[in-house]
Symmetry: C3
Subunit: 350 residues, 3 copies
């Protein structure tokens, strides 16, 4: 038996299979600093222990997307080492705050399998859960990914396509936020005069700034998450591949867009849920990422006088300002510079 | 009202205006590690808790220039997002040591305003103060910056040019250093046989080494400080701009020169004050930074048998060795490779 | 006397000379995060405090190679600033675990000197020891390095070539590992079903993945270790030098190979000793590193029912897959793409 992990192929997955992923990871202040250096987020709750404590956190929680990337990274060696494409995510819920010192692990369950008609690939649907060493669940989400078959001649499994979660209901969200003491919320320090009440459904916000990505940056980020997908790291093979270049991890775009969104959504301190996300086009080093958001919905949280939710659709582009809100046309085709279409719930103070 | 911050223009400032800046920032061991990775400082007090404790610090303090950059970074979204040029700094005093775990915030006061004769820009003079969550002031400094007007037709304010601090007097400096126990100061571990007494006014020191800057490095550094100035991050717009390239944050040069200065000033463990600083020419990724220093003055600190101050002028160049001390000519014109002219007080053990 | 350290030349060393190196360095969670971001190691003991505690460590120890690089880095300003080539290492023993918060220092003894026949250079043999602030030794190793003479006319010292340690005996190794509680060792979380018993002498393992190195990455890594060797940082001079490029620190290749070796040696959580190492060819930014290993020997550790040792030879290449195990030919000549030949003892759970 080879000692080397060549990753699972489509035939290696079975419905209901549960995979406990390596390697557990203690998140530290070092990871937080790197995340800041790589993306430049400025949300006060995550940046300042003093601000966090003033509103009733015990200390600054770790950025939600850093938690997501670490949990996601753990699933890669087992789920997507032989992936052709990461097709989408849905139903992502942030269930508990994560603090420096917490150790994160991940488990995945195979919830759907459908071979493609070419017999060379199939779609694997998987629900992944991140949890702390004490068993506390911190995140779960569904993703589906197109994975190569080892051998086209191998028989197809019975196709099972799970019902994918649509828009998450507000009542399943918000548990990662303690009851806030809004007397401690200082708009100046938070960097935004606009709270939950100030946003209107339909409102569009250009996040204005652009951020150019370097190879060293996306490689460092993706290794920080212990994500081992080869396309991000190996110019020797990718130079001969589809794009002739290393591909930037899709999650890098999400984190950039989220950091950019501070400009216009500065009080949206928490990503409560991920309704869905789609990487519309690839990003490469040297490209500059911009983003804009639209408020799709606005909901209170039951029993929570402190925070409310905005459902935000965030579009990211490359090498194109978002001042005119580039989008899909009436036939659903995206502006050619759009790279990300993300649908999330964010929490803001009332 | 737009949710997006497009920054203040010259007309938006008024004399005496006080601005509490977002985002407070807890400095951690992670930030310190990144600073080490980005600049390579080797001053023993900041590098080793054991060394720091041996000389009577409770633990290693955070590098002074990291404190400066974080405080400076906070001021950018309010003061200099629409800046044409950062014209200078003066009167910078490091007032208290900062340790990992401390949260830094910044407040600025507008102390001068003078519209330029072209009516398109004006100079804003601002005193910024960094402080901890408990109110302890850790740094104050004055800078003046040329900011665009929103509209040249807008009326000019009455011109007020504040008296700028010149050379700081020794007696206002040194408070960030506890009384040192010099029995614990080990020259071998400190990396220098030369203490305060060993330096002479007029002495010139070539710091010898050169350091090449990469785009990923200066972007990571500048994001670490949550400095949002667009020119450092956006190749898409800067490629069409004045230089065709992203501009390296001027503070990056200061930190490189300070780290290089260890070679010749290894015992100069603390920057006590910044008399003045001028970015003579821009730095771009791919350039190599060198530095040399001259001792301008030498002063004891009243009541302090442990440390003395040297006033140091540090010149940094790009792509040019400093072995022959490149400088200004008799007419004041700089050698074309000079990029920084910095005038600081540093503390050394006696 | 010049204040600038221009480094020692061959004539400056004397047999038996002991050098206490600057600058002591407190290792933190920030350094660990950077190491993860730069190399992507996934060994569970170092990644997860919870995993480490489950097997009887008080918390995750710092990666062995990070300890090595920090100790090595301290020796550079005194030993190898004027080196022409780092010729080899031998006899490296990891003597005690290092945890975040520990402060590392280094001392070196000159154990051999031999001038080369050209009278322009000589070989310096040095034993370096890394220790904690409380005196605990954490690492010792021998290296030999070719250093320039200041002046070819200076007389040669009596040649002394020390007996170099060959393969380290298992009984001198393993002290950096506490007695493990293997009930707590979870193969799924560790990422490998293969323990010590599962490896056979002679077995070859392709580590499969490739990692491309960027200038910013190797510069940040090498500065993190406070290693000041000029060739890694100065494009202005190296552009005119032997290779026309900055040279990547040899230890960077070791860390990449070690991180890649997780794929096939996932349970080899600890580098217990370094029998020898040779940098066969230089690495430059833009190159992609691959690695493979062969099991040379397999030994129990006396009195240790928990762990056993494998002697592993790890070969790294650039821009060439290791699927066919590129090696030396019968005359000892290396495949032209080989860059590292490393001989180490690693510890695995039984």
């Amino acid at each position: 038996m080879s000692k080397t992990n060549s990753g699972n192929f489509f035939e290696d997955f079975s419905l209901g299979q549960v995979i406990a992923h390596a390697t557990p990871r203690t998140v530290t202040a070092g990871d937080v600093a790197l995340y800041t250096a790589l993306f430049g987020p400025r949300f006060a709750v995550q940046s300042s222990d003093a601000f966090a404590q003033a509103v009733n956190y015990p200390q600054s929680p770790v950025d939600d997307m850093l938690v997501f990337h670490i949990v996601f990274g753990k699933t890669v060696p087992d789920i997507s080492l032989n992936a052709v494409a990461n097709l989408g995510y849905a139903g992502g819920r942030f269930l508990a705050p994560v603090y420096p010192g917490d150790t994160l692990s991940a488990v995945s369950e195979i919830i759907g399998l459908k071979e493609n008609s070419n017999s060379k690939t199939g779609v694997v649907y998987v629900r992944s859960t991140g949890y702390k060493a004490d068993g506390t669940e911190v995140l779960d989400y569904v993703r589906w990914v197109m994975v190569k078959k080892r051998n086209a001649a191998n028989p197809a499994p019975a196709p099972v396509v799970p019902e994918l979660p649509g828009e998450l209901a507000p009542q399943v969200l918000g548990n990662a936020v303690p009851m806030l003491d809004l007397d401690g919320w200082n708009n100046d320090l938070a960097g935004s005069a606009h709270r939950w009440d100030d946003y209107a459904i339909g409102e569009k916000i250009d996040h204005a700034d652009g951020m150019t990505v370097e190879e060293a940056e996306h490689q460092m980020a993706t290794r920080l998450y212990q994500n081992t997908a080869k396309v991000h790291f190996n110019q020797h093979t990718e130079g001969e591949g589809r794009f002739g270049r290393r591909l930037v991890y899709g999650g890098h775009v999400i984190s950039l867009a989220r950091a950019l969104s501070f400009n216009g959504l500065g009080a949206a301190f928490h990503v409560a849920g991920i309704n869905g996300g789609r990487h519309v086009a690839p990003l490469f080093a040297g490209d500059t990422v911009y983003a804009w958001s639209q408020v799709l919905d606005k909901q209170p949280l039951e029993g929570r006088p402190d925070v409310g939710l905005l459902r935000i659709r965030t579009i990211a582009t490359k090498n194109r300002s978002c001042a005119d809100f580039p989008d899909q046309d009436s036939a659903g085709a995206y502006d050619p510079d759009v790279i990300l279409d993300l649908d999330i719930w964010v929490a803001l103070p009332k």
